[in-house]
Symmetry: C2
Subunit: 161 residues, 2 copies
């Protein structure tokens, strides 16, 4: 801690205008959700949850969230960002999306939906589950069951618009 926050004496409650950990119902819900998932609502988890869930559906990588946290004066280490993203995923608050072998994206939308992936821009966009339809599935191998069906519509910019 004390990354960008001035080190102070002892137990000084956050006076910051950025996020005080207890101002809105979103934060209340989040703290509740975290407790329910067996996760202590610590400063870092609430801070990251606030960044993730307060502004609609998002697709973030660990690095992106880490930088955003730094900008937003949410003191957190990169290792904790990774840990937290995975804990949130286990808790069902996030979905992991694999579109590109190099980075891992996390999606705050955990509902029924799929993805556009803009190639060369590394950008993800949601496709509502109702706007796409996977007809006929193939036979599932013996002893297996479907965990999930992911559809990724890869897009590229048209050569001449």
């Amino acid at each position: 801690m004390a990354l960008t926050v001035p080190a102070s004496s002892k137990r000084v409650p956050q006076p910051s205008a950025e996020w005080n950990g207890d101002s809105g119902c979103l934060v209340h819900n989040l703290r509740h959700k975290l407790r329910h998932a067996g996760l202590r609502p610590t400063r870092q988890r609430v801070g990251l949850g606030w960044l993730l869930f307060a502004r609609g559906d998002r697709h973030v990588t660990a690095e992106m969230l880490y930088e955003e946290a730094n900008r937003s004066r949410v003191p957190v280490s990169l290792a904790t960002v990774y840990n937290t993203l995975h804990q949130f995923k286990e808790a069902g608050l996030l979905r992991e999306v694999a579109v590109d072998g190099s980075r891992t994206y996390f999606d705050t939308n955990t509902g029924d939906h799929h993805h556009f992936y803009i190639e060369n821009e590394n950008q993800l966009r949601d496709i509502d589950g109702a706007h796409i339809e996977v007809g006929r599935l193939p036979d599932i191998p013996e002893g297996m069951e479907v965990s999930r069906v992911d559809v990724i519509v890869r897009l590229r910019r048209k050569i001449r618009p």
Copy 2:
């Protein structure tokens, strides 16, 4: 070179029974394909191509192919395996498949098809394009065009068979 092959004097043509670079029509086709793609049919590229294309559809990672090459007495470095896989991909001989954030898979099947992905076993299996059907696509964003649609059916082993 000379990784597992005994170092010899000069310009000894391969006496090996494993792959002599000019024995079958598959190799002929491959050499032709490579030339057509602007890739010199070097020993390593032909050797790797032979491993990749001579035994039906395959899903390999760089590491897997590297180890297989070593076992098959195709002397090649890991860096060259990576380079070659990407060159083959550019040439349209392979397709890159992103299912898991950590490793990159390459698929020798470049036709119309999708994939089963067996979670926890890191195993890929083809689904023929005719056995799956993506009905209704969503509206494509302005100025964009579809490069490809990937469907990944994630499977897990049933709890009780």
